[in-house]
Symmetry: C2
Subunit: 307 residues, 2 copies
């Protein structure tokens, strides 16, 4: 089952306490695509400029990402420059240049229109709805958003939320959308706005997933070194939706497994700059860490007094 | 199997966004004792002043806490005044009066000396060793500490760490002791200092437990309202050690269950001021929330492709 993703393909400058990477491939749709590709074929819709070369193309093609929806436009691709502080818990944006992304208008190729799993990356909520108008009703629509749209286009965001099955955002965005500091109350509010599932990304503390009558919480995989967190959230979303597309199942059990697979892929992503770790990743690495997650979270109830 | 706890019994003023409580029973050994009492008898060693009344005694006795080790001294009991900010993620100490606690010298009654489970609450690390000199080798020694001792008596703390089986502290204290921001690396360092088990309390994000070759991570129980976090960490430790004492088992499986039982008791503690929720708590409430924790954390691996 193919997954359709619409979002940004960008070039990043990233500085962390461990080093610097310049002009490396980034963007939400990039991380999502490569992460999802370990589980299912991916149909990518994004826009790039003339700086996007055959070499960059090869990275996507190697991962079975369909590029027929990739628009090429005169000019430069979206550019982002971020620097992390010593503890990696804060990122300062040094520069953002929207470039060709400023006029991005997603056009969904005919071949993509029956994609059964759709991920609306972090773009204007009106554009997210434009995407939905161009596809046949998919089995699953998931979306991301960010503080910019929450603050500046709250009405548009509300309209889009009504149309989606899942919202995948971080804890701070949950608070901003709902005005609730308490995550459980915030989640309850969001579940009245449209999405049946809210997945809250909490960085080094893992993920909490809220559905009617059920909460699932998974820690982040404990790592000795977080090298570069850029794209971790998008890699989570890619592993999450990609896994669901691969198993074609939307039961509670499948969705919980998808949270863990998403967390697994995100944990690999942060081990190196840009896509470096993900492009070396094998499916067996993913299964190995999935098993490690089981060990990390497993406990049983006592028989008798626990001896 | 009785649990011996040495620490503070105090009176607190607490202000949260939900209200104010004045001169309520608090202190690390108080929360620990009542929390542990749901699982095993508790032997308490602490010091109180003349403001500690028969009414306060009754609270402990009702919970099967032995008070023969409670020293009564002329003067006032330890007093603490704290105010939480609107998001409950910061606590400002308005006032601390050590009072009779300033000269506390733990004397372990003969009847307590064969306690097989010992918890050294957050007191001077030299006093923690004095306690150990007065007991026969217990099956388990667990301890707590705080930033004050980490900064001001690091050598004493190192000596005490060599003598204990488990260290139960928060993430910031782990970083302070080891100088490592990364929790996994910090934990590895601590496991070379004496303790075979490190339990890291992460507040609303739950608990991570590190042992040689194994990590266990449990989220905090998702609550719609955190009313008063005071004593949550001590209640966790009480539930944790109390459960281990009750099942007399120190296997990995038992210790993981103990983490969950500790988390359960802490989650009840924060639902009201002081001991108000814990003194109304029944064992069946605890078992109910233990089951809810299982539901919160459970996921299975797929058979076939997950359908």
């Amino acid at each position: 089952m193919a997954t359709l993703v619409v979002g940004s393909v960008a070039f990043d400058n990233v500085k962390t306490p461990f080093g610097t990477a310049e002009n490396v491939l980034g963007g939400s749709a990039t991380y999502f695509s490569v992460a999802a590709s370990f589980f299912s074929p991916v149909n990518l819709v994004a826009v790039v400029g003339e700086d996007f070369s055959r070499q960059h193309e090869r990275i996507f093609r190697k991962h079975d990402v369909d590029l027929r929806g990739l628009q090429r436009t005169p000019g430069k691709s979206f550019f982002w420059w971020g620097e992390y502080n010593g503890n990696m818990n804060e990122c300062r944006t040094v520069d953002t240049q929207l470039n060709v992304f400023a006029d991005f208008s997603p056009r969904i190729p005919r071949e993509y229109q029956s994609s059964e799993f759709v991920f609306l990356g972090n773009i204007h909520p009106r554009l997210q709805r434009e995407v939905l108008k161009q596809v046949r009703r998919p089995r699953l629509i998931a979306m991301d958003t960010m503080n910019y749209w929450i603050n500046n286009t709250p009405g548009e965001l509300r309209q889009t939320l009504k149309l989606v099955d899942m919202l995948i955002i971080n804890d701070n965005e949950t608070r901003m959308i709902t005005g609730e500091h308490n995550l459980v109350r915030g989640a309850e509010k969001i579940l009245t706005m449209g999405p049946k599932t809210l997945v809250v990304k909490r960085g080094e503390y893992g993920v909490a997933m809220f559905r009617k009558g059920s909460i699932f919480a998974a820690p982040a995989f404990p790592l000795k070194r977080v090298f570069d967190p850029t794209g971790a959230g998008d890699s989570f979303a890619g592993g999450f939706v990609g896994y669901l597309a691969s198993c074609r199942s939307l039961t509670e059990a499948s969705i919980r497994r998808a949270v863990v697979y998403g967390s697994v892929v995100a944990s690999f992503k942060v081990e190196d700059f840009s896509l470096r770790r993900l492009t070396r990743l094998r499916r067996s690495d993913i299964e190995g860490r999935f098993k490690a997650f089981q060990k990390l979270m497993r406990f049983d109830s006592a028989l008798g007094n626990g001896r």
